[in-house]
Subunit: 135 residues, 6 copies
C-alpha cells in the first residue's frame, strides 16, 4: 500500500467550554483549557493510492495541498477556532477538530481519486491525535 | 478509529550485558553497548478510543499522563536502567524495555478505559522501536 | 565567556491591536494578526557567568528555571496575553513581549548572581526575536 | 507486533521528467520539478520481528544498517538520482523511488530474517511517502 | 540590542567545481561534492533595529520576508545554483553563497531601515555557515 | 566575520559528584544528578575564518570534523564520562565539559588555521551551555 502525507500548520486560538455545563463544572473538566489560549497546530493529512505510470505520482500532491489549504488551513489561520462556522457547536478538543477535518476533506479528496487514510492533529509535539480509517 | 498519543522523555543510562555469556561473547554481541552509556529516551504512548460527547475527549489525557509518568517516566528519570526493579532480569535493549513498558501500563490504562495501541521507544532519532497491538 | 541557556514554552493567545488607531488603521498595520490567534511560544533565556569550582556550575540552573517559570512561563501558560497585568498597555508583538520579559527577570536573576545576556522569543520556528545585551 | 525503525539520510539531486512526453507536457505535469533541484532525503526503514531471548534484539540493527547503507544510502549520497543505475527508467518521484528501494532491500533483509514492513521517504518535512505491507 | 530573525528554505542542487583546476585537482579538493547533488537549504536572516512605539515592531517583518523571498528564496527554489546569474563565477560553497546573499539583500534591507546583522546558511543540520557583522 | 559550525553527537552517561563533599552535601547540591544517568549530547563547534578564493572554503570542514571526532566525539561515544582520562578530576557538568573540550581542540584547530569561536554543549534541547571567545 502507498501513502502520501502532507504537513500543514496554522496558528490559532481556542478554549474548551461546554455550554451545557456550569462554570464550575467546566473548570473541573477542562481546567486551564477553559481560558482562551493558542497553539501552532500541526496537521498531517495522509491519503492512500496507487501509482499512475504516466507521471509516477499516485495522487496529485498539488490538488491535495489545495483542498486542505482551502478548506482547513486557510480558514483556521490566525483565528479563534470556537468562532469558526466550520467548528460550530463542538467543543474544540483535538479529537473533535480532527473529526470535523476528516468529514470536511474526505469528499473533496475522493472526487479527485484520493482516499483519505489518516488525519493527524497535534497541538504540541507532546499531544497528538490521529483519526485513521481501519484497513 | 481514534488514537491519542502523548510523548514523554527521560535521561537515563544503561548497558547491554547478558550475564549468561562470557565477557568475550558479550563484547562480540553488544560491542560498544556493553559500556555504561546513556540517552535522552523518547517514549510515545498511543491509546485507542471513542469520543465522549460530554467533553469531546476520548480519554482523559491527564490520566494517561499520570499513569505513564508515575509508572515509567519518573522511575526512569536520571537512573541506571539496569538497576531498576522495573527492568530486573532483562537485557535493556529498546525491544525489551518497550515490552516491559507495555506490560506495566496496559492494565492501569485499561482500568481507566484506555486501550493501549502502541508503545514507541526511541534511543535517538535514528533508532526507534514500536510495539503495536494488531488491529 | 560562559553562557547558559534554558528553554521554556507556553501555549498562549494574543492579538495585535493599537487602541489609539482606528479599526481600519489596525487592520492595515496588523492584518490577520488583529484576530485573536495563538502560538506555542518558545522562550530561551541565556545568562552569562563564571564557573564556581565547588560545583562546576556557573549558575544554579534550578534557580534560573524557577525564576523564569514563576515570573513568565506559568503566568503566560494557557492565557490571553493581552489580558495579563504583565503586558498591560503594550501591543503584544514579539519585540514588546521580549522587552517586558527582559525587564521582569533581569533583577531577580541579578540577585542570584546571574547576568542576563539574551532573551529569545519565537512564535514559530520561522519568526524569532532576540534581545541581547551588548558586550 | 514488534517493529524496528532506522533512519538514514542522503543529499541528492533529481528532476522529474517523462521522456515520452513533450517539453510542454513535462512542464505542465511537473512544473518547477522539471529543473534539476535537490533535497536532504530522509529514509526510514521499518522491519517487523520477534525478540531473540539470547540478546534482547529482534533483528541485528547493525545488519539492517549495513544493508540499507550499502544498497541505498551510499549509492545515492551526493548523486544525481536520475543517472543512477538503481533508478534507471523511472521518473524519480518519491513514490517510484520508495518502490525501487522496497524491491532492492526486501530480499537481502529477508535473508537475514528481517521482514520489511515500511519504507518512508521524505523530500522535506512537509512531503512524505510511505510504502507499507498490508498486515 | 534587538534582533529579528526570519527563516526561509529552498530545495536546490549544486556542485563544487573550480574551472581553473584540472579534473583530478577538483576531485582531490571537493571529493563527492563535485557531483551534482542537492539540499533543503535553510536560510536565516537576522536584522537589527529599535522598536517603533506606534506598532511595537522594530521592522516590518513582511517587508523583510518579501525582500529575501524575491531576491533569494524564489530564484533559488528548485534550481541548479551553479547556473543562476546570482551566483555566476563563484564556487557554490556555503561560504560563497552566504556572502553573495549578504551583498544582495543588505542594500534593499537598508532602504527599508533594516540593518542586516547575520546571514545563516545551512546545507544540513550538521553543516552551518554564519556571516555576521562585527558589532 | 565568517563562522562555520559543525554539529556532533554522542550518547554517554555521567553523574555529578564532588569527592570533597559528603554524601549528604552531594545530594543537596546535585540532587537526582548524583545518579548515573545519560544523554544524547549535542556538540556544536564554531570556528571563525576568512574565505580562501582557491576553493571557496574558509576552513577545511573535513579537517574540522576529523579533529573534533578524534579528540572528543569518538572517545565519548557510549562511555561513562566520569571515567574518561579526558575529564579526569572534574565534575562533569556541561560547563566543565565544554571548558575541557575547548582546551582540547583549540590548539589542533589553530595548527590548521581554524580559530575556535564557540563550543556549544547541550544535554537536552532545554539545557544548553555555550563557551565563546570574546570578540
Amino acid at each position: 500500500m502507498h501513502f502520501l502525507t502532507r504537513t500543514f500548520s496554522f496558528s490559532s486560538s481556542h478554549q474548551l467550554w461546554n455550554p451545557e455545563l456550569s462554570d464550575e463544572e467546566n473548570e473541573k473538566v477542562f481546567g486551564l483549557c477553559t481560558n482562551v489560549h493558542g497553539h501552532n497546530y500541526r496537521l498531517e493529512v495522509t491519503v492512500q493510492g496507487t501509482i499512475d505510470p504516466a507521471n509516477g505520482f499516485f495522487c496529485n500532491v498539488l490538488e491535495l495541498r489545495d483542498i486542505v489549504k482551502t478548506l482547513i488551513a486557510d480558514p483556521c489561520e490566525h483565528r479563534f477556532l470556537n468562532d469558526l462556522p466550520l467548528f460550530k457547536g463542538i467543543i474544540t478538543t483535538m479529537e473533535n477538530l480532527s473529526q470535523v477535518i476528516w468529514q470536511t476533506i474526505e469528499g473533496p479528496l475522493a472526487e479527485r481519486n484520493m482516499e483519505l487514510h489518516e488525519v493527524l492533529l497535534a497541538e504540541t509535539d507532546e499531544n497528538i491525535v490521529r483519526l485513521r480509517k481501519s484497513l
